[in-house]
Symmetry: C2
Subunit: 315 residues, 2 copies
Amino acid sequence: MNASAPRAATIVDVARVAGVSRQTVTRALHDMPGINAGTRERVLAAARELNYHPSRFGRGLVKPAGRTLGLLVGDLTNPYYGELASTVLRLAGERGWNVVMAEPGSLSDLAGATDAVVGFTGSSIEVPRAGAPNLPVVEIDPPHDHPGHGRVEFERAQASRDAVSHLLARGVRRPVVLDLLGPEGCSRRGRAFVEAFRDAGVEPAVADRASSWADLAGDRPGAGPDAVVAFNDLEGFRVLRDLRTAGLRVPQDVRVVGVDGLALGEFVAPRLSTLTIDLTEVARAALDLVVELSGPRSGEAVRVVPHRFVARDST
Amino acid sequence: MNASAPRAATIVDVARVAGVSRQTVTRALHDMPGINAGTRERVLAAARELNYHPSRFGRGLVKPAGRTLGLLVGDLTNPYYGELASTVLRLAGERGWNVVMAEPGSLSDLAGATDAVVGFTGSSIEVPRAGAPNLPVVEIDPPHDHPGHGRVEFERAQASRDAVSHLLARGVRRPVVLDLLGPEGCSRRGRAFVEAFRDAGVEPAVADRASSWADLAGDRPGAGPDAVVAFNDLEGFRVLRDLRTAGLRVPQDVRVVGVDGLALGEFVAPRLSTLTIDLTEVARAALDLVVELSGPRSGEAVRVVPHRFVARDST
DNA sequence: CTGAAAGCGCTTACAG
DNA sequence: CTGAAAGCGCTTACAG
C-alpha cells in the first residue's frame, strides 16, 4: 500500500538482470533440461540478488494445481481437535489437497484462499463467501442445521444409553451431568445423557461443566454425586484429579465418564471411561461430502457417525 | 487429466449464460453497487447453474493477497504440537496470513503453495523448493543446523540443571533418563539431562523412551530407579500410570519429570513436574525470522528460547 | 447501469 | 540452447 514500497521482483526483472528471456528463467528455476549451465547460474544469481519469489498465482493460473481445503477447528490445544486435524491432514494429503487451517477467532479469508471449507468448532460456522457462492461448506457436529451446508452428525443416543446402563448396573443413584449451560440449555451431548438417565428412571443433576468437586459434593457428606459425566475427557481428567485430591476412590466412591475418546485417556490412572467416536470415519465422511458438494448441487448432504461407549477403569 | 472431464466453468461461461459481460459478473458476485437487481439475480442463477467456482489464482494475480505460511508440524495428536500450531495460527491471523498445515509424511507441495515455511517436527526438514530458490524456511529446534534455514533453538542446559538440583536435593541417587536411542545416541534433551546429572556427580542410567516400569525396575526390588526423566510429558503420564499400577508412590518412592510443559500436566494427579517453554515466544520468534528471511538475505538467522523447570507434585 | 480493454505473473507449445 | 507469442481467469480503471 505504501507508494514507496518497492514492487516485488517478477520473472521479467530476473530475466532483465540476467540478460535472458523469461522462459529461460523458468527453465533455470525448474532445473529443466536444455539450458546452458552458465546461463542457469547467471539466472539463479539474478534471482538471489533480486530476492525473487515466484508468484503462486501466476503459476497456479497456468499449471494444474491441487485443491486447497480450508479446515476450521476449535482449540488445537485440545488433543481431540488435534486428532481430527491430523486425520484430515493425512486424508487430504493422500488426495493431493493442501489444507489451510484456521481457528474460529482468526480473521483469515478462508473463502478466498480455499476451494472448500470443513468446520469443526463446537458452534455454528459462518463462512464469509466473498464472491464464492458455490463454495462447499461441511460442518462436523454442528449445533444447528444450516441449509446449503453439508454436515456430519454425531449419533449419541445409543452410546449414552450404554454408558448409563453400565453406571446403573454398578449401583449409581445420584449422577451429575456436567454441561455447558448456555441460554439454550444443555448441549446435545448433555441432553443425550440426561435423557438416557430419565429413560432409565433416574433424574440426574445437571451442573456447569467447570464445577469443582466441592461445588458438586455440597455440605452434607455422603449426599454428593456417585457418578460424574464430564463435558469432555479433558474435564474428566480434572474431575479425576480433584476426586483424588479429595481422598475419594474412583470408581469405588465415584464413577467418572468422559466424552471424546482421547487416546490420552489410556495414559491416566484410573484409565478414563468415555464416549468415543472414530475420527477417521468422521474425517473421511467430511471429505466425501466436500467432493459431493463440489459437483452439481444435489439434495441434503448428511452423514451420521455413531459414538461408542468404552468402559475403562473409571467406571 | 481425463479428456472427457468437463472444463470447470469460468467467469466468461457465467457471463455467456447470463447474457452479460464478465465485469457484470464480478459486480454481481461481489455485491458491488451500481448493478440492476434483476441482472444480479440472473448472474447468480447462472453461477449456480454452472456450479461456478472462481479461481483463486485469477483473483490472486490481480488483487493484493495476504501471505500464506506453510507450517510443518509433528503429530498433532500430541497437544504439544497442537499448542504450537494454535499459537502460530493466532499470530499469523493477526498479521493477515493464511496458514497451510502439513504433517511430515504428507506429500503436499508446500513450496508451491506457500510464501514461507516453518517446520517443527523433531527432525530435520527438507523442503522441495521447486522453482522457489528464495523460499524462507525456519526450523524450530532442529537436530542439525541447515545453512540457509533460519532456526529457533531451545536452550535446555539451565533448566535441566535446575531439575537435577531439585531431584538431588530430594535424595535421588538412581535416576534414569528415558530417551530416543537412535544411531546417533541420545537426543539433545536427553544429553542435557545426562550432562546435568554428571556435572552434579551422579551417573544416570539411560533407557529407551518406551521402556515399561518392569524393564526399568529390574528383578532386585529396591534397586530400581528413584527418579525417571521421561522423554516428554505424554510419556511422563504413562510412567505415572505405570507406577501407580505397580503400587509405588509418586513422589515418595519415585520422582518423575516430563518435558514439554503441557497444560494437561496440571490435570493429572500427581501434577507432573516438567521442563516448559513459552510456545508463544517460540512462535513469535519463528514468524519474526520468516519476515527477516523474506527480505534481502542477511547473515545467520537464529533465535534462542530457554526452557524453564516447573516443579509440580511429581517431584 | 453496463461493457471493451488492459494487465496481473507465470508456463507451454512452437520457432529458430 | 534460447526467445517471441499466446493464454490461463480474474479485477480495475475507463468509457459510454
